[in-house]
């Protein structure tokens, strides 16, 4: 287990040493990993740091507003609305690895532009250990590892939490007094909802994944899942109010885990499952079915793509 206080001191010193008097930009996603990286970098660099949050259009419900509020204490905070650029580039793409690569590439391009404006030479990222092993092992590329373009216009990339597991990052977050909402936040993948809609990314599927994920996170609060989500996995026939519906199939997933390396599908009671199904099909007219994923990791992964 990481020695939290010592880790914080060393991480701040390391960022300070690596970046020196230069300016840096940090990629905020709203998740705990990048939030901790941002808080550490802000401690080390103060106003040399420009925190940038890119609204990719692939975010969870209310996420952008929440990030704006949590990080308003950092003066240089920039919120970029890149929604259309992401969706344009993802249009027509169905291969999961290609989707991840496109999101990763677009992310970096957005940051490059912001970095030039901010005159930043360094990019700070919240990459954690499992991101790296899964990418190196060829299991899944992570946007901040595998999707990184060959030519990056920065003098260096700073990854202060690269050796930590998720549970350790949370401990650091608590020690840094980060908003409880952030410290206890469920993990959310770098490519966002793009990997929670199988196949092509469309506004309609994103909307289903976003609303359904919100319902799942709300309904399963008492189960305290390590991660809970809803994914749009295909289409199937249903019947709603005497009308045939060829609607989306939503898969609900809730797992318990320590570090994301292994995960156990949670045992939910029937009433909870039925409430999920009823809220999701009831509030989203284009959803015909809800299924619950009982697969552990391994053999599955937590996210779908």
């Amino acid at each position: 287990m990481v020695e939290v206080e010592q880790f914080i001191d060393e991480a701040i010193a390391e960022i300070d040493e690596q970046v020196g008097d230069a300016d840096a930009i940090i990629a905020l996603s709203g998740g705990v990993d990048s939030s901790v990286a941002a808080a550490l970098a802000y401690e080390a660099l103060g106003d040399q740091l420009t925190p940038v949050y890119v609204d990719t259009g692939l975010m969870r419900k209310g996420e952008t507003e929440q990030v704006e509020e949590t990080f308003s204490y950092m003066e240089g905070l920039r919120i970029v609305d890149a929604h259309e650029r992401f969706l344009d580039e993802l249009s027509g793409v169905t291969d999961p690895e290609e989707k991840r690569a496109i999101v990763g590439e677009r992310f970096i391009r957005e940051f490059e532009r912001e970095a030039r404006e901010a005159d930043a030479e360094y990019l700070v990222q919240g990459t954690i250990y499992p991101d790296r092993i899964e990418s190196e092992g060829g299991i899944k590329s992570h946007h901040n590892v595998g999707g990184l373009p060959e030519v990056v216009d920065f003098s260096g990339i700073v990854e202060p939490v690269r050796e930590l597991y998720k549970d350790e990052v949370r401990e650091v977050a608590r020690a840094l007094d980060l908003d409880a909402l952030v410290a206890e936040r469920m993990p959310f993948p770098g490519p966002g909802l793009a990997v929670r809609v199988l196949g092509e990314v469309t506004e309609e599927k994103l909307q289903v994944a976003r609303e359904a994920t919100h319902i799942v996170e709300e309904e399963l609060e008492e189960y305290d899942p390590w991660q809970a989500l809803a994914a749009v996995i295909g289409k199937a026939t249903g019947v709603k109010g005497d009308n045939r519906v060829h609607g989306w199939v939503v898969s609900v997933r809730a797992v318990e885990s320590r570090d994301g390396m292994t995960a156990r599908a949670q045992e939910l009671d029937w009433a909870t499952l039925q409430r999920l199904q009823s809220r999701i099909t009831g509030s989203l007219e284009n959803v015909s079915r809800v299924v619950y994923d009982v697969t552990h990791k391994p053999p599955a992964t937590i996210e779908y793509e």
């Binding site: 287990m1 250990y129 092993i133 899964e134 092992g137 299991i139 597991y165 885990s257 320590r258 570090d259 390396m261 292994t262 995960a263 156990r264 697969t295 552990h296 990791k297 391994p298 053999p299």
Partner: protein, 185 residues
Amino acid sequence: MTTIVVVDNGGQFTHLEGRALDDIGVETGIVENATPPDGIDADGIVLSGGPDIDERGRSGEYLDADVPVLGICLGMQIIADEYGGAVGAGEYGGYADVTVDIDDETDPLVGSLAPETRVWASHADQVTALPDGFDRTATSDVCGIEAMSDTERGLYGVQWHPEVAHTERGEELFANFRAICESDD
């Protein structure tokens, strides 16, 4: 302080083996499986899991290093293969949680887990015939040989992953291996 080195065969969980050893207070490090055996100075060696037995590097050479060796998943299969046992596809793979029955409660590695223990597994292949000198020490419904020991030579294998959080009493298994390394002279 006791030092146990982890040899990386490219497994997804290799780093967690380092973490588990660190968590029980053992001096540890992870080395590539191309590392020359005389470059390893340790009281014990863990052979990690990995995707392919043909990418075992110099893993076989560490078995002669005269310190106890614990093979995990592919690591166990490497030990079996090196000593004339057989490795092949199981009837079906073992994934996620498996209940393992301990055969031998006096075994220094897995005996303390008797009569049974819940573990997390991830393997398509398994040891299908024991090598000479080894005893089967654990079994399960999905895998005939879940663990094996040769206490004379100090060689041990488990097919499951004691290093992952979902394996119950995984830390105990590492503590048992530490005790084996500490009593070995």
